[in-house]
């Protein structure tokens, strides 16, 4: 198990400070997954925010919300579980 962290964000642009805190807390080797309303941050308009790490996107949540042109790789529920196991800890920003 590595020393890295999985950052999970489930809030959208209504709470811009939350994304900023996440980005401030990000270390090398960490990954970000956007779930629920967090997936709106994966729209092209916000692509410039993620310079340190490209976010991963929970596919079902993106599909539910009709969001297209996503910036970032999509994962399914099993992939989400793999990510949680892969990292030493997970942090929910909610």
């Amino acid at each position: 198990m590595s020393e890295s962290t999985l950052h999970i964000l489930n809030r959208g642009p209504n709470q811009p400070e939350l994304l900023q805190h996440l980005l401030d807390a990000l270390s090398e080797g960490d990954e970000i997954i956007l779930i629920e309303d967090g997936i709106y941050w994966a729209s092209e308009h916000f692509a410039g925010r993620f310079q340190l790490a490209q976010p991963l996107i929970l596919g079902a949540d993106a599909q539910a919300r009709g969001l297209t042109n996503l910036c970032g790789e999509t994962v399914d529920d099993a992939g989400f579980v793999d990510l949680c196991v892969k990292h030493r800890r997970s942090v929910s920003w909610c």
Binding site: G12, E36, D37, S43, A60, D61, Q63, A64, G66, L67
Partner: protein, 118 residues
């Protein structure tokens, strides 16, 4: 009270708030009250087309949205700056909407007897 402005501020599906705002609008219309909806902040995402929430076990909000005109709820206002902040344009949305700027917001508030934030 005879006229209601319902302000919706939340994205769909992440919470029940978007659905509750729609239900409230339809309930007002059923009682023959004048009603308008104002979409602010992340609520602008409610009108993205092609929702498909079956994979997360939720009902599609689109059917309810499309029923609004049938109940004479045809005043749907949308905050221009909320759209711009999110890189969206009204042409990309699933229902006809009227964009409002900050002056328009002030006028809207004064135009209704009750203003409800959901």
């Amino acid at each position: 009270m005879n006229s209601f402005l319902i302000i919706s501020r939340c994205a769909p599906y992440g919470s029940a708030a978007a659905r509750e705002a729609l239900e409230l609008a339809l309930a007002c219309a059923l009682f023959d009250r004048e009603v308008a909806i104002l979409l602010l902040d992340d609520a602008v995402y409610q009108l993205l087309p092609d929702h498909n929430p079956s994979a997360i076990g939720q009902k599609n909000l689109a059917a309810m949205q499309q029923s609004l005109p049938l109940y004479d709820v045809d005043k749907i206002f949308i905050c221009q700056s909320s759209l711009e902040t999110r890189g969206l344009v009204t042409e990309a949305l699933a229902l006809p909407v009227t964009p409002v700027d900050s002056q328009g917001l002030k006028a809207l508030m004064r135009g209704y007897e009750a203003v409800i934030n959901v």
